[in-house]
Every structure is written in structure tokens, then in C-alpha cells.
Symmetry: C2
Subunit: 343 residues, 2 copies
DNA sequence: GTGAAAGCGCTAACAT
DNA sequence: ATGTTAGCGCTTTCAC
């Protein structure tokens, strides 16, 4: 095929290669002939062969847990991050290889590099557990470029792009205080996610800063699912009725919505008796009643930033310093946290 | 690397290859030595080189429109279908190559095969427009295996996996009639999606079958976005107040939710004055007030089925008959369509 | 059952 | 500026 193009254009195969890959110098006129010949024979070079010859897969891997039953992600989170990564990868000529990891599957990330399936990878939904730490350490040791999204590992300087969850939580607390709330609770997620820990720390700091009381009983625990939010409604309602709680910040929107539904059934008026704020500002918060205040996280940008930085590092390993980006978040105020909050 | 494994095992490179790829016959004992050697040297074959030699990319392409601003998909739809495809591909040893198509980008699907980036592909969100038809015709002509998801093209026997939207709509109409509703409207999406046309046909059939009146003014049009549902609230409210409408079926949940919000603002009590049913049964329908009745579509299964059938066809081109699968849907009844519907 | 060698379709020196 | 040639790391005949 390529040979026929070369013949038709009256040049060698090497020249065909040069023209089509834009590497090396060729006379304008020769290039034109080659292009025409390729056009006529409907020829395009095999990316597979190119990549093999170059010893680069041309793929950016995205590793993420199999979705069914994974509560950490709203589908919103997932779609946004992935789109951001997709855009950035595309602009840089990389293809996106999607790698689902099933729950019991070993985290053999380094193998993806050894088999040359990917040139770099982004990890979504990594957890701070020993097997994950080992897998990441192996990547690091093998000098395989990777980047974490929305997760970091204490003590390890891994590339990561995250939202500034702490700042968001502090802002939420300040907002509630400004609105006259004094007894602010926090519904958090599991500590295997660094976000959970960051938010808890910020929650305590913000309370301390304002001279407000920190009370352990006001910190509730869920697993980021709607259901666990729903299940905490009873405890929250009791505290509210006892006059010991007038606001709750939930660590994600799903739990906030579950809590909202549970409270509604228990007759607690959210937005009035109790102010409620979620995190993520996913697409569902506009659909609840009352609309849910939430901390907007730029998921699309997080994905884009992670891919851009990572691929830049791959393109230019020389001046590739490790990065640890925190993108700003923004509190979006809606009726669920306003004193005049109504339907 | 491979050479060192061969040396260590005391065999030729060809034998190493045979052992690791499981092709050809090797003595048990030899195989064991090779495996140990590979293990010791931490060697795994390059998938890139293998695929190059085999002239197969090992990738299943998934083509989908860039998400931002695409209303057709809820993120729910997207995540579910993709997960289903991912599971099936993985089981068959294929990797998933995600290919975002930007709005103005030419639909040059065939090139993905020519460049050997993919061995087969699944198209999500295809539209019935000329450029799409051309691109698909080119795939067909080149004998490139592909499968459509949730879309079909009249007159073309392309592989496709879809939900039985017509059956779902008929069931919804019957449900409403059984609940005493007599004046049923339909909020549809654009006709470039075959689903829209299928549903409209089924809507008319079901009405005719029941001897109920079909009135054009009761068919409203949106673009599958929440916003267009919201914008139709005024027209719907007017019809309801005029006693000319007591139920609406929306072609997806997003529009249903927009409509629900709009109606609420206009003081129409959904579930009572007006019964409302959406389509997709996405994760948000449990979060609205009242909860939204919806037609459940097995998106995960659709993705899985598409990938399985397609990859089976690739594995066995001999007996690969074109397929056109319709998966059953199920009406999930909630308060928005029940006579006693309340919060 | 195993080894030797050709070839997959490119890229990249090196030579001219 | 262009042609020649040697790989890239596998698979796969074809001998033995």
C-alpha cells in the first residue's frame, strides 16, 4: 500500500513517510505529489505500526473503579472529569484508553506501562489503602508518569490535581455563621479519601476560628451514597428538635439529598429549621425541593488540568517538576441554606 | 529483554513467545522454565508489538459526542452504557478506546479502522443526518464492524442495540388510562433520533387502540434538555386549566423534571391535577418532589449487549449475521402518575 | 517439541 | 532533498 503510493508519486517509501509524518525536510513539490498519491489511493499510515516503531503507545490511560455500586462518584463527577481529560488528550494527539478496575482486581498499574498499552495514566477514585500505596510506589519507582485526581497520599509527592476542598468547607461554615447559624454539623465520607480528611480538618478549623463549639456528636458518617444520607436523617432530626443543631454541611450532594429526603419525611423544614449545604454542585441540586446550596467543584477543569500537566511532563521530561494543583471551589447559595429559604 | 528470558530458560525466543501467548505446543516442563524465567526477570510481552505483528489493535472504539452541552445524554445514560461496554470488552480481552467527537468535527469513522486504532466500534448518540449516514455507509462498505446504540437508520440493516421505546410508551399510555387519565399529552425530542420517532408512533398507536383522541396540540417539542421541558410548562399549564390535558409523558427524565419545576412555579399540582411520566428512570427521578414515574431503560445491559454481540461478530466473522436487538423496558410507577400522588 | 528466519509497516540514522 | 537500510518486538511458517 505504502509502496504503491511511493511508486505513484515516484519517490521512495522513506519520503512518503517523511511527508505524512511531517518529519524531516522535503521539497514542496515532492510533498504535493506524495499527498496526491496518498489521497488517490486512500492511504493513511497505520498508527499501530507508527507507534510500534516509535515505542510509544500514544495512549493516555484513565483508571477508574467499575461504576456499579461505587458511590464515590456521581455519574456527574465521572462524566465531567472524563470529558476534561478527553479534550486535553485530544489536543495533544493522545488517545484515551479507559481502564475499569473491578473491585477484587489487583491494582497492577505498572503492567500497563510494561505492556506498552499506555504512556501515562490518570487515576480516578484512588483510595488510601496499602495495596493502592504499593501500586503507586511501583509506578513511581518505574518512572511511569501518572497523576491522581481528587486524592492525595500523605507523605508522597505524587502528581495530583484536586479541588481546594478545605477552602470550600471554610467558606460554607462562614456562610452559615453569617446567616445566623450557630450549631453546624458535618456529614462526612470515609477517611480512605483524602478529601474527607481535608474537609474534616477545615470544618474544625473554621469553627475554631469563629469561636464556635466543636462537638463530636455533630460529625456524622456516611459513605457518599444517598442512602447513608437518608439513614442519618433520624439522628439529625433529633438534634434539631433538641435545639442542638441548626445547620448541616454534607460532604457530597448525594448524601445531602438523601438527608433532605429523610428530613422531609420526618417533618423537618430544610432551609428554615435547618440549613443544608452539599458538595460538588452536581446537576441534581437544582432539582430538589428546596434547591440545594452546594460547593461547586470544577470537575471538568480538574480533568483537563490533570491531563495537560501530565502530558506536558511526558513531552518534556527534562523540566518536569512534580505538581500538586488545587483548583478553587465556589459556594453556590440556594434556598436550602438561606433564612428565607422556600420552595 | 525477551532474549534474556530465552537464555535464562535455555530455549529460543520463539519458544518464549509460544509459552507466553499460549499458541502452539510446548512441553509442560519447558513452559514452566520459561514462565519462571519471565517471572524472575519481570518480563511481560509488549502488547503493542504483539498487536502490530498480529495486525489487530485489540481496541474497541466507543464514539460519542463531546458531552458539554449535549442534552441527549444524561450523565447517567452515559455512565451506564459505558460501564456495560467496558465490562463486556474486558471479558473478551479488548481495551476501550474512547473517542470524543467535537461538534464541528468531520465524522471520519472509517479512518479509525484504516489507521488500525480500533478493530470495531460502538456509536453512541448517532444522529439521522446526511453526514452521519455517509460515514456509516462508508464503514459498512469497508466491512468495518460497528454497532449503533439507541439509534437506528430507516432502510439500513446496521447492527444496533436499542430499548423497546415503543413498548414503553404504550405501557405508559395504558397505565395512565387505567388510572383514569383521558387527555394524555406527549413531550417529545428531536426527530433526528429514531427513538423520538418510535415513541411518537407508539403514542399515536396506543391512543388509537384505546379509542382515545389524538390531538396535535398535545404533542410538544423539546430537545431533551431540562430547559426545554421547563419552557413548555406554560403551554401545559394552560391546557390543564382549560381542561384539555390531564397527563403528560415526556421523552426523557430531564425534560420531565424541567416541566415539573415549571409547573410547580405555575401552581399546577403534579401527581394530582396532572400525571407526569418520564423516560429513562435515571438516578434523579427519586429525588424530585413528587418522585417521578419513569420508563426504566436497561442502559448498562444495552452497552454490554452491544459490545458482546459486536465482539462476537469480530471473533467469528463467518457466522456473523447482522443484529438488531431490542431490550425490554419497564414502567416504574411513582407518585407523579398516581391518583393518590403526594409528596 | 523446538529453533531459525522472514515479515508486520513504520522510523531514523546514514549515505548520497 | 531524497534513497538505502537496519531495526522496533513480536508471530508464524518451515525445517529439523
Amino acid at each position: 500500500m505504502r509502496k504503491k503510493v511511493a511508486e505513484l508519486a515516484g519517490v521512495s517509501e522513506a519520503t512518503v513517510s517523511r511527508v505524512l509524518s511531517g518529519v524531516g525536510s522535503v521539497k514542496q513539490e515532492t510533498a504535493k505529489r506524495v499527498l496526491e498519491a496518498a489521497e488517490r489511493l486512500n492511504y493513511v499510515p497505520s498508527a499501530l505500526a507508527q507507534r510500534f516503531a516509535l515505542r510509544k503507545s500514544g495512549n493516555l490511560g484513565v483508571i477508574l473503579p467499575m461504576l456499579p455500586k461505587v458511590n464515590l462518584f456521581s455519574t456527574y463527577y465521572f462524566s465531567e472529569v472524563l470529558s476534561g481529560i478527553g479534550i486535553a488528550a485530544k489536543r495533544r494527539g493522545y488517545d484515551l484508553l479507559l481502564l475499569f478496575r473491578e473491585p477484587e482486581e489487583p491494582r497492577d498499574y505498572a503492567n500497563l506501562f510494561r505492556t506498552q498499552k499506555i504512556d501515562a495514566c490518570i487515576l480516578i477514585g484512588a483510595q488510601d489503602v496499602p495495596s493502592e500505596r504499593e501500586a503507586l510506589a511501583e509506578l513511581k519507582e518505574g518512572h511511569h508518569p501518572f497523576c491522581l485526581v481528587n486524592q492525595r497520599f500523605g507523605g508522597e509527592a505524587y502528581n495530583s490535581v484536586d479541588a481546594d476542598q478545605g477552602a470550600g468547607l471554610r467558606e460554607a461554615v462562614r456562610h452559615l455563621l453569617a446567616r445566623g447559624r450557630r450549631q453546624i454539623g458535618f456529614l462526612n465520607g470515609p477517611a480512605v479519601y483524602s478529601n474527607s480528611r481535608d474537609r474534616l480538618d477545615a470544618y474544625r478549623e473554621a469553627l475554631a476560628e469563629a469561636g464556635a463549639a466543636y462537638e463530636p456528636e455533630r460529625v456524622l458518617l456516611g459513605n457518599y451514597s444517598r442512602k447513608t444520607g437518608y439513614l442519618q436523617a433520624k439522628a439529625v432530626a433529633d438534634l434539631v428538635r433538641a435545639g442542638r443543631l441548626d445547620a448541616v454541611i454534607a460532604a457530597n450532594d448525594r448524601m445531602a439529598i438523601g438527608l433532605l429526603q429523610g428530613l422531609k419525611e420526618l417533618g423537618i423544614r430544610v432551609g428554615d429549621e435547618l440549613a443544608l449545604i452539599g458538595c460538588d454542585d452536581s446537576d441534581v441540586v437544582r432539582m430538589t425541593d428546596p434547591p440545594l446550596s452546594s460547593i461547586r467543584v470544577p470537575f471538568f477543569d480538574i480533568g483537563r488540568e490533570a491531563a495537560e500537566r501530565l502530558l506536558d511532563a511526558v513531552a518534556n521530561p527534562a523540566d518536569a517538576a512534580p505538581f500538586d494543583v488545587k483548583l478553587p471551589v465556589e459556594l453556590i447559595e440556594r434556598a436550602s441554606s438561606m433564612p428565607d429559604g422556600t420552595t
